[in-house]
């Protein structure tokens, strides 16, 4: 399973948004949900509530099975009811892995896609841990292969980024 963290804090996210932006929050219901709840339905709902409380205009939340499947992302751009929503949107906040981010940039070239995800490698989920743990890190993280897995809070701390939802 792909392991992803957040590059930015909520404050940094807000600094990239304007009050007249029409915001779509986008997520998958797969790997990122297991990444301490970085994505998935709950993460989208809580971020929408936080942004609205701070005066931002969230026009839609879109939950997709897998954002790394290009065709599924493309369908949202060409078929109603989502086609009109995405035409109207000015910014998309991806709660995905880097693959999802790349697909969004490709399918919606005219929109601002906030650079949220940092994908750090592959990992194992277990209900015993209650979370996904990083076992096969990308070398650029400076972390080593760890058979038992590294908790994501620890990975985020070492890399100076954030784990879990906004």
């Amino acid at each position: 399973m792909i392991v992803s963290l957040r590059k930015i804090s909520y404050t940094e996210l807000k600094s990239q948004l304007k009050k007249d932006d029409k915001i779509v929050i986008w997520s998958c219901n797969n790997c990122v949900k297991f990444c301490k709840g970085l994505g998935g339905r709950e993460a989208m709902k809580s971020l929408k509530e936080k942004l609205e409380k701070d005066g931002f205009n969230v026009i839609h939340t879109e939950l997709i099975g897998l954002s790394c499947v290009l065709d599924l992302v493309h369908l949202r751009a060409i078929e109603e009811p989502t086609k009109s929503i995405f035409e109207d949107a000015t910014v998309i906040i991806p709660l995905t892995c880097e693959d999802g981010y790349a697909n969004l940039k490709h399918i919606f070239p005219g929109k601002r896609i906030v650079d949220v995800p940092l994908t750090v490698g592959l990992g194992v989920f277990s209900t015993e841990f209650g979370e996904l743990r990083l076992t096969i890190p990308f070398e650029e993280t400076g972390l080593k292969f760890t058979p038992e897995g590294i908790p994501l809070e620890e990975v985020a701390k070492k890399l100076g980024v954030y784990a879990g939802p906004f």
Partner: protein
């Protein structure tokens, strides 16, 4: 979706096995199936090849995703096995190692990095690679076959 994998040569796998071993093969029905390196057909093919070469394959187990350890922990494998072949990505391999600590777990695939998939174009693309495969970032492979594509069909930016 997950990891891009490529098959290791059969000789490399067999070199880690003994004729006296009692072997189980575990595979997934997601990423590796998309890459043509796992799934039911590939697992049966590997089991047949090994049996033909005189090895004893006792169990073949197809999981949804071996990287979810709960699945591997609940696997009802024969108690007599002493080696498991992970026909998975490296995350599946670590998950099986965690779930079956007393058994040697052998990789049948190498993991290149992470991918995006386009079923309509019949292709998957390596988007972010491990160091060893960094030069192959952006390479494309046939969906379900893993065959390298001669020409790139997805014009997407890969990570830097």
């Amino acid at each position: 979706m997950g990891a891009v994998t490529q098959r290791l040569p059969l000789e490399e796998i067999e070199a880690k096995l003994a004729k006296t071993d009692r072997i189980a093969i575990i595979s997934c029905n997601t990423c590796v199936r998309f890459c043509g390196t796992g799934g039911l057909e590939r697992m049966e093919e590997l089991a047949s090849q090994l049996r033909r070469d005189g090895f004893t394959v006792v169990d073949e187990l197809l999981l949804t995703a071996a990287c979810i350890r709960d699945y591997t922990e609940r696997a009802r494998l024969s108690k007599s096995i002493n080696k498991v072949i992970a026909l998975t990505c490296d995350a599946g391999w670590t998950s099986i190692k965690q779930a079956l600590p007393g058994v040697e777990v052998i990789k049948a695939n190498e993991t290149l990095g992470i991918m995006i998939v386009s079923p309509s174009k019949g292709v998957l693309k390596l988007m972010k690679a491990f160091e060893k495969y960094k030069k192959r970032e952006g390479d494309e492979f046939g969906l379900l076959t893993g065959e390298p594509m001669k020409k790139r069909v997805l014009n997407l930016e890969v990570s830097e």
